[in-house]
């Protein structure tokens, strides 16, 4: 640093106060994160009990992953859009449109499914970019632009499919959604590779957490109290291994779980540790201050929409592969689940606040509730009432906490 400001006496660091206080302070600052995780566990426990253990059966757990993968994947993009201070209402329609595009290319035109998938992803990026262009550079509120996009792409889906369902897809394309990781060990009851991957992922989690904690301690940075750290990582690793075991005892890891996991890790890294992520938070936190700090705020907003469009396209491919047909109604209402997942996960509607893990946990809270209530035989009518109330309650708790 070349800005030497002469000999300021070093004030004693006030944070070196009694550990009990920092304990409480840490809990207070991070209550949201722990609270969310806790509520997911409580909700899972509740439904596990109410469904007499059906929820956690390997078959059902596999279904849970398959049913929610596209919501989780879109929640990653939506989180960045919301953090940047916008919203995207068009994702459900984009899912339908991309599914239809894939069906037309693969089924009607006999195109190779890999090439068709690439075209679909690019189409998604262009759709996102087109909407982002009006939002970022012309400053039209994202609510309006994406509402228009929602209508446009819903209409285009109908036009593309001529009102019909188109399918089926070739088996290779279906593997995207209904395929499972291969099992080279040939175990009869247990898929060895999946279990191994689960254990490896848990080990990697523990290893990287330990390493970053060691680094934090070495540089005198603040960190969570040791008890929390051990408890959190221990529980996480145990849950990962246990779930891997459950999945491995059915048909192993679904392919989409692998895709989803890679994306979750990548987006967590981008939002937490990169300059790009920092800029997105800055733009959402205070756009004017971000611009005056040299950040090209329009460009940041634009790219969050490009990214969202691409992830919505990926979700569209996965959803089409799962149904094995493209239908005009595919994707209807998805945007609501995705947005709800982000807000349950602690994102702020005014921008600048929200975490990838929060959105993922939020998506799973919604997913577990959907699944659990269906198993319990609660009608679709009351399911929606309950989901709506849970969303309201989650945001209410946030607001109360913030004003305290």
């Amino acid at each position: 640093m070349n800005t030497k400001i002469a000999s300021a006496p070093i004030t004693p660091a006030p944070e070196a106060a009694a550990p009990a206080r920092s304990y409480a302070g840490f809990l207070k600052n991070n209550m949201r994160d722990y609270g969310m995780l806790l509520s997911l566990i409580v909700i899972m426990g509740f439904f596990e009990y109410m469904t007499d253990g059906t929820l956690m059966q390997p078959l059902n757990l596999t279904n849970l992953v398959l049913q929610n993968s596209y919501i989780v994947i879109m929640a990653l993009g939506m989180l960045m859009v919301i953090v940047a201070g916008h919203i995207d209402l068009s994702v459900g329609s984009v899912v339908g449109f991309v599914g239809a595009l894939a069906a037309v290319l693969i089924v009607n035109y006999d195109m190779n499914f890999v090439a068709a998938s690439v075209i679909c992803l690019v189409a998604g990026a262009i759709i996102g970019g087109a909407q982002g262009y009006f939002i970022a550079f012309f400053r039209i509120p994202s609510f309006i632009v994406t509402l228009a996009g929602m209508l446009v792409f819903k209409g285009l889906t109908l036009a593309l499919l001529a009102g019909q369902s188109v399918g089926p897809f070739p088996p290779g394309f279906q593997m995207l959604s209904s395929g499972f990781l291969p099992d080279p060990f040939g175990g009869d009851n247990l898929r060895g590779l999946s279990l191994l991957l689960g254990v490896a992922a848990a080990a990697a989690l523990v290893f990287t957490s330990l390493r970053s904690r060691a680094k934090q301690l070495r540089h005198g940075m603040e960190n969570e109290p040791r008890a929390f750290f051990l408890l959190k990582n221990g529980v996480f690793a145990a849950v990962m291994v246990y779930f891997s075991y459950l999945l491995a005892s059915y048909r192993g890891f679904p392919n989409v779980l692998a895709v989803m996991s890679v994306l979750i890790v990548a987006y967590t890294f981008v939002t937490n540790r990169t300059v790009l992520g920092r800029r997105v938070y800055a733009v959402g936190g205070n756009e004017k201050a971000a611009r005056l700090s040299g950040i090209k705020t329009e460009r940041v907003s634009f790219y969050t929409f490009v990214n969202m469009g691409m992830l919505a396209a990926l979700a569209g491919l996965i959803f089409a592969a799962r149904l094995n047909t493209a239908t005009p109604k595919a994707g209807t209402g998805f945007e609501l689940d995705v947005i709800a997942a982000c807000f349950i996960g602690g994102a702020s509607a005014s921008g600048g606040v929200g975490k990838v893990m929060g959105a993922v946990i939020g998506a799973f809270i919604m997913g577990v509730m959907n699944n659990g209530m269906s198993i319990m035989g609660i009608g679709i009518d009351y399911q929606q009432v309950i989901k709506g109330l849970v969303l309201l309650a989650a945001v209410f708790v946030d607001v109360i906490n913030k004003n305290k």
Binding site: M1, N2, T3, K4, I5, A6, A8, I10, T11, A13, P14, E15, G25, N29, K215, Q216, R218, H219, G220, M221, E222, R273, T274, V275, L276, R278, R279, Y281, A282, G285, N286, K288, A289, A290, R291, L292, S293, G294, I295, K296, S348, G352, V353
Partner: protein, 216 residues
């Protein structure tokens, strides 16, 4: 108030104010391109806004992230942020500028006005400017913090940095500046050296300039 000082400063700082901006910017006798804020920062300009809550800080973020915001390149490698280095930088500024906080992970929204001002100052000092434009740096902060800000400005000037301070408080101007430009209705009304400047002369410059404007 309405004299066009902030407008002038922000126009120079990457054309961040208004639309139709003309003119050239010379630094050390060489014309520099300040057509965007990023370019202005790259050319060693920094602008500490008078509206620290609206334009200066991201209130919901912590001190650390606000400090590094205008110079993320210096705390990152291949676009990945080096958290230890960032922490060290922010901790350094906390100590040098005596920012009073429980830790640099505290949100700036919870700081007092004076300490918020110091965080904005830290952000722009970390961008390593040659020319630091301070817009009303002592507005809305307590006397103690005001004194500390003055000391920091003096130390920076002693290091050879060029400091442009915008202020409406005449005692502050007379006490701090080597040279005073008086602005009125968007134009320079007078240039005074520290030796000749008095409150009366500054007021007279404004009044006579205003009269001339009305006559013409």
């Amino acid at each position: 108030m309405g004299s066009g000082r902030t407008e002038l400063a922000m126009s120079i700082f990457g054309r961040s104010y208004g639309q139709r901006i003309s003119g050239t910017v010379l630094k050390n006798g060489v014309e520099i391109d300040v057509s965007s804020i990023g370019k202005a920062i790259a050319h060693g300009l920094a602008y500490v806004t008078e509206d620290r809550k609206g334009l200066g800080l991201i209130l919901e973020e912590d001190i650390k992230k606000n400090t590094s915001l205008a110079n993320l390149g210096a705390v990152s490698k291949h676009l990945v942020i080096d958290e230890a280095r960032e922490f060290g930088v922010a901790e350094d500024f906390r100590r040098k500028l005596k920012i009073r906080c429980s830790s640099i992970l505290q949100k700036v929204v919870n700081l007092s006005g004076g300490n918020q001002q110091k965080v904005v100052l830290a952000k722009w000092l970390f961008s390593r400017p040659d020319i630091l434009i301070l817009d009303e740096p002592s507005r809305g902060i307590d006397v103690g913090a005001k004194y500390e800000i003055y000391s920091i400005i003096n130390e920076l000037a002693a290091e050879g940095k060029c400091i442009v301070m915008i202020s409406s408080e005449m005692p502050e101007l007379l006490g701090m500046c080597d040279r005073i430009y008086v602005m009125n209705e968007g134009r320079f009304a007078a240039e005074l050296s520290a030796a000749e400047a008095t409150q009366e002369k500054i007021m007279r410059a404004i009044v006579t300039h205003g009269d001339n404007q009305n006559e013409h």
